[in-house]
């Protein structure tokens, strides 16, 4: 109980929609987040992830249920009394204050002595690598620098939990990737629980210890990055995280560890048995494109299905093949371009090929 940073107990949030109808933004959510975890809420816009974050921050109050921070129920405790700090999506830096004043504000409000404020602001600015920027105003900083000020402003107050609302959304790709790693390092360095909201699956996978994939106000799956990616629980998760091929079929037989699935009466394949799967059930087998190889000949240890190459797309690191398998199942395969020799497209469109994969790569999805 006490090693939990955050507990959400049956938290529900209803909003009044534009037509006066109730909109369920967060639907009876239960969640425990231990201290020191880098936790992400991942989902498309409108899935309830930002609302959840705002309820933890105290900007919104739950319609039902309760939020517990460090063992203390928040009830209707206002935002300014909660031991959490937020890094806002738009940064929300105060434009009339300098970098120093922005970072010092929270400490001033906490009545920290002037001498200590100076030390702690300097430390925070060092942490985000903005030494010497104290006197600048926010509009004299680049987007990336503003981002760092927002981080320093939140971290300087040594919150129990740091809430981050898509903080990297406004940065360009290269800076975003760099900041992802920096954030992760920073979190390890300061040991504060980070709760991160994003719609970018790669961002969530890169940084998080655990990820909650959200859809329509509910957590669809909760797990580590590898679990979420390799063993998605639902079609929604498999589809939202990365690219996936779905082969629709019916369970033909259960053979202990393995389940045999009949794909549209065209072919049979084996995939690891998942919990709750029953004989004759309609299921989908999810296969990641990078798990599929396009090859000329059948290989003994792989599932091998023959097909026709429809399209070849060269994308630098990889080449994407779109192959039409037996019985009209279109799948995407990503083959890494391991050699820079000229034979970029081994298999031009129209060629007859074998698509192979390890049976253990298939993921049976029942819902």
């Amino acid at each position: 109980m006490n090693d939990l940073a955050i507990q959400l107990i049956d938290v529900t949030k209803r909003f009044q929609g534009p037509g006066g109808e109730d909109v369920l933004a967060v639907d009876h959510m239960h969640l425990d987040i231990p201290h020191g975890e880098f936790f992400s809420f991942l989902g498309p816009s409108g899935c309830g992830k930002t609302t959840t974050l705002r309820m933890i921050a105290g900007f919104e109050m739950p319609s039902e249920g309760q939020i517990v921070i460090r063992g203390e129920s928040m009830g209707h405790i206002p935002a300014f009394k909660r031991p959490v700090n937020t890094v806002f999506q738009s940064y929300a830096l105060w434009p009339h204050m300098t970098v120093f004043q922005n970072v010092a504000f929270g400490l001033e409000m906490a009545k920290v002595s002037t001498s200590e404020i100076k030390i702690r602001v300097a430390e925070a600015l060092e942490l985000v690598q903005l030494e010497g920027f104290d006197g600048r105003k926010p509009d004299q900083l680049s987007g990336g620098q503003q981002q760092r000020v927002a981080l320093a402003r939140a971290l300087v107050q040594k919150p129990a939990v740091l809430l981050l609302d898509e903080p990297l959304g406004a940065l360009d790709l290269k800076l975003r990737k760099q900041m992802q790693l920096e954030l992760k390092h920073m979190q390890e360095q300061v040991g504060i629980t980070f709760i991160y909201v994003t719609h970018d699956q790669e961002e969530a996978l890169t940084m998080s210890d655990r990820i909650a994939v959200m859809h329509k106000g509910r957590i669809q799956q909760l797990g580590g990055p590898e679990e979420i990616y390799e063993r998605p629980a639902t079609r929604y998760v498999a589809d939202f995280i990365g690219e996936t091929n779905f082969l629709e079929g019916r369970v033909a037989s259960l053979q202990g560890e393995w389940t045999e699935v009949n794909i549209g009466d065209a072919f049979l394949l084996h995939a690891p048995t998942v919990e709750g799967v029953t004989n004759g059930q309609e299921v989908a087998v999810a296969l990641r494109p990078e798990k599929l190889t396009v090859q000329a000949e059948v290989e003994p240890n792989l599932h091998c299905i023959s097909g026709t190459v429809e399209e070849v797309v060269y994308i630098g690191t990889d080449t994407r093949y779109i192959v039409n398998l037996l019985g009209d199942h279109r799948v995407v395969s990503r083959m890494q371009n391991l050699s820079s020799s000229k034979k970029l497209t081994h298999y031009p469109p129209g060629s007859e090929v074998i698509v192979g994969w390890e049976p253990s790569s298939g993921r049976i999805l029942t819902e």
Binding site: P78, N85, F88, A92, H96
Partner: protein, 295 residues
């Protein structure tokens, strides 16, 4: 190389032509202001140093007598009263308008336009008519006294009309929209995430307002205050109708000197003095408020 200089030359010429076009566009306004503002003001300034004629008009005899006369205690009282009444009007307008402007700025976009229009609806009726309506409300046998007497809240009628209070009420009523509009324009652009950030950093409503919203809406406060203070200190219709001789303001003084007393040079002196004092006051105010913003 050659083509570069040609391009620069072309850009320079284009810029000059644009400037020329702009000059052409502002010239009607410039002409208007020079003819009907700068020239008359210069005449007023010159008159303030001349001697009054026996039957009105001016004699071309230079003097500083008019300014010396202004040091008289009676005039000082009128100046002080005008200043105090204008200040009270400005402060009350600010206190009333800020919540109104805030409220409007927080409404959905489609309601905001309507609410702003409601603020300026009073302008659709003539100012004189509205001021006489106030006299009708405030007079001894007026609406307010009759209602209060009817409800037995008072025994005898209150002296409301022809008091400084009546003038302030009239001025607030008249100039309130001039405070609401610039404040609204400022608050509408205000990013409320900045307030959330302040709350997030441990500031309660009071401190979040003082440290974030107030400094960031200072331009609106300054604009609104100037728009209310200047017409208030120079008001004469409101003080004439609602203040009478007991709450005379500078505007009434100037009017009397020009008309009944036929002392144009002295009226000019009062006008110029008022203008200088207001300029000084506004400059000081501007300095203080913008410095507070910078600190």
């Amino acid at each position: 190389m050659n083509s570069v200089t040609t391009a620069q030359e072309a850009a320079r010429l284009r810029k000059r032509r644009e400037q020329g076009n702009l000059m052409f566009l502002v010239s009607p306004a410039a002409f208007w202001l020079i003819l009907f503002f700068l020239v008359p003001l210069s005449i007023v300034l010159v008159y303030s140093f001349l001697t009054r004629g026996t039957y009105g008009g001016v004699l071309p005899i230079a003097t500083t007598q008019n300014y010396a006369k202004l040091l008289d205690r009676d005039y000082f009282i009128v100046f002080r009263r005008s200043f105090v009444l204008a200040l009270i009007t400005t402060l009350v307008c600010l206190a009333f308008s800020y919540p109104v402007a805030y409220f409007i700025s927080r409404q959905r976009a489609r309601w905001r336009g309507l609410l702003v229009m409601l603020v300026i609806v009073p302008f659709w009726t003539n100012f004189l008519v509205r001021t006489y309506a106030w006299a009708e409300i405030l007079r001894d046998e007026g609406v307010l006294n009759n209602v209060l007497l009817g409800l037995h809240l008072i025994k005898d009628h209150l002296d409301l009309l022809y008091t400084p209070g009546a003038v302030v009420v009239g001025l607030i009523y008249g100039y309130l929209p001039f405070m609401v509009l610039p404040l609204y324009a400022n608050l509408e652009k205000f990013d409320h995430a900045l307030m959330e950030a302040a709350h997030d950093s441990g500031a309660n409503n009071f401190w979040a307002f003082m440290r974030v919203m107030l400094p960031l809406t200072m331009p609106g406060i300054v604009a609104g205050s100037i728009l209310v203070f200047i017409p208030s200190i120079g008001a004469f219709i409101t003080s004439d109708i609602l203040g009478g001789s007991k709450a005379m303001m500078i505007g009434n003084l100037i009017e009397r000197q020009f008309k009944s007393a036929r002392n144009w040079p002295f009226a000019s002196t009062i006008s110029i003095t008022l203008m200088v004092l207001v300029s000084i006051a506004v400059t000081i105010y501007f300095r203080i408020t913008t410095e507070a913003d910078r600190a």
